[in-house]
Symmetry: C2
Subunit: 312 residues, 2 copies
DNA sequence: GTCGCTTACGTCTAACGTAACGATG
DNA sequence: CATCGTTACGTTAGACGTAAGCGAC
């Protein structure tokens, strides 16, 4: 049974006329005749009584009519669903982000993106860089945004907005009012670092090592799983840390944490958008990726990114 | 969007493999490839991620999969519905019958027919011959069984079981014990006849007229709308009547009404199955018509048709 | 090298249109 | 005779198969 035939049957049944159905379908009347004939032959049923100029459904035709209506409706619903999907108007955008991008960057971006597509839903999985990468590889996430360049076959990295990692100290710390401290000074104070697997930690260790300060020289007094925990540790006077300036916005404003420059050291990184090269992106994900590319770093910093120097 | 493509897509999605889907569909693998390619082009969407030897649905593919499943299921349901319909296993058999066939013949036949098709329902409309004919013409009834040959363009008559119209008198009537009476005697007793439009009345009038007894010569003392009313009239001693032997079964057995032969007159008729020549019969009606044809008059008379001579 | 999807190409069915025919009112 | 469905036939698109190509493990 061919859907085309069923569709034509549906039109004929509705119009009670072969010729009117043909007109409605932009076909010629013999074509409609042929399809109905073929359908009747395929089903081995007579579907219409041809009564002079009147065409009526037979009992069998009425049964088929109900099924035909359901088929045509289902097809229509499918086409509409696909249409909306293709336009990125519907669907679920499944994203992943490591902690800093996931907590401080993506929420702002999604806040701009979602209002443009009221029909969509967004799932944002915030884990760490490694886990995000794994999920992209498995296909659980369409796109990930991570804070470190982690290579993997089948995974493409696209550089994204820039981030600066800064030295953060408690407002009551002796360094709080200094313009800058030397790199060597870092080894003299208790240091709090992120857990292994964190992109931030990777970047910090690389940057310090490149500048001639092996990570082992730091007086690491604590290793914490989240940036939030580290901030609490800093405020409690446990130690200092180097973290994304993005995470310090509120604390700088509030004056509870101050950032201090490190002499001759600027730790900058790009966040990366990662995706599986072997998998196709959903239209919605494509739309989002395009949206990301139109975002200049400016449009992010424009909204309340803390200035480098603490306000307090 | 072609249903064939969707169906093939559905198989590929289920098997997570083009080649396995091809095998399941008895197609070659390139054919399946081609269909998926065409579908992806038609929808302007990538439906599968081809990951080496693994094939996975994209997000768009998953959306389509839901629709595809509904489409395939709907098609399947339609085919099954049609199948059952064609086999006459389901549906409604809409019949009409004039009073005698409708009340005394069809119930017996339907009692044999329906148990063979548990899924069907039967609507039996009992009116008179003319009304039954009209309804067949209008298409409200697929088949009618009437007691007289009434010609109409587009209506075909098929002779059915034979019926005998007999003289019925009350058990207390002077004629009750006679073997027969003369035709002329009929004009000497009060006569009860059926209403206009009745096939029985038509047949009786024709038969008497043919035998030389104009209907006007009867001493008609009552005209009643139903056979049942006439039987009550006979039992009450209002008069005699000529009616179908089929309607007298119980009364003869009970001894309340006796049948008497009329000399040199036997009034026989065939019931006719009528149908519209311009309309197709539903498979169920076809099945029923075939069933009717296999019924010999014997199989009807076999079950308790009253003997011509009264038992009492 | 093997497995599995894609591409290329040839065949053949069938979808469609045009034109002629036929029946109904 | 006008309208509407059917039949006949020619054209073209596409469904399918075979064979070769190609990337991944």
């Amino acid at each position: 049974m061919d859907l085309r035939q069923v569709e034509i049957f549906y039109y004929v049944a509705q119009h009670r006329s072969f010729s009117k159905a043909a007109a409605a379908l932009s076909l010629t009347q013999p074509t409609v005749s042929g399809h109905i004939k073929a359908l009747e032959a395929a089903l081995n049923l007579v579907l219409f009584d041809r009564l002079g100029r009147d065409v009526r459904l037979t009992h069998a035709g009425e049964i088929l009519y109900g099924h035909a209506k359901r088929l045509v409706d289902t097809k229509q619903a499918a086409l509409q669903g696909i249409e909306e999907l293709r336009d990125g108007l519907r669907g679920e955008l499944v994203l992943g982000g490591s902690s800093i991008p996931g907590q401080y960057v993506l929420p702002r971006i999604l806040g701009q993106f979602q209002p443009q597509y009221p029909g969509i839903s967004i799932a944002l999985h915030i884990t760490d860089t490694m886990e995000t990468l794994d999920r992209v590889v498995r296909g659980d996430l369409e796109l990930g945004i991570v804070g470190a360049q982690v290579a993997h076959a089948h995974v493409a990295h696209t550089p994204f907005v820039e981030d600066e990692l800064v030295l953060a100290v408690s407002a009551s710390h002796p360094w709080a009012d200094l313009a800058s401290v030397s790199m060597d000074a870092l080894t003299t104070v208790p240091f709090i670092q992120r857990e292994r697997g964190s992109g931030s930690r990777l970047v910090v260790e690389h940057a310090l090592a490149d500048a001639g300060l092996p990570p082992a020289h730091l007086r690491v007094m604590a290793e914490m799983g989240t940036t939030e925990a580290i901030k609490q540790g800093i405020k409690a006077g446990l130690g200092v840390s180097i973290m994304s300036s993005l995470a310090l916005e509120d604390e700088c404003k509030a004056g509870s944490i101050c950032t201090v420059a490190i002499e001759r050291l600027s730790i900058r990184r790009h966040f990366s958008v990662i995706r599986h090269t072997g998998r196709a992106l959903s239209p919605l994900a494509q739309t989002f990726e395009t949206f990301l590319q139109t975002l200049t770093p400016l449009s992010l910093t424009l909204q309340d990114t803390p200035s480098h120097a603490p306000t307090a």
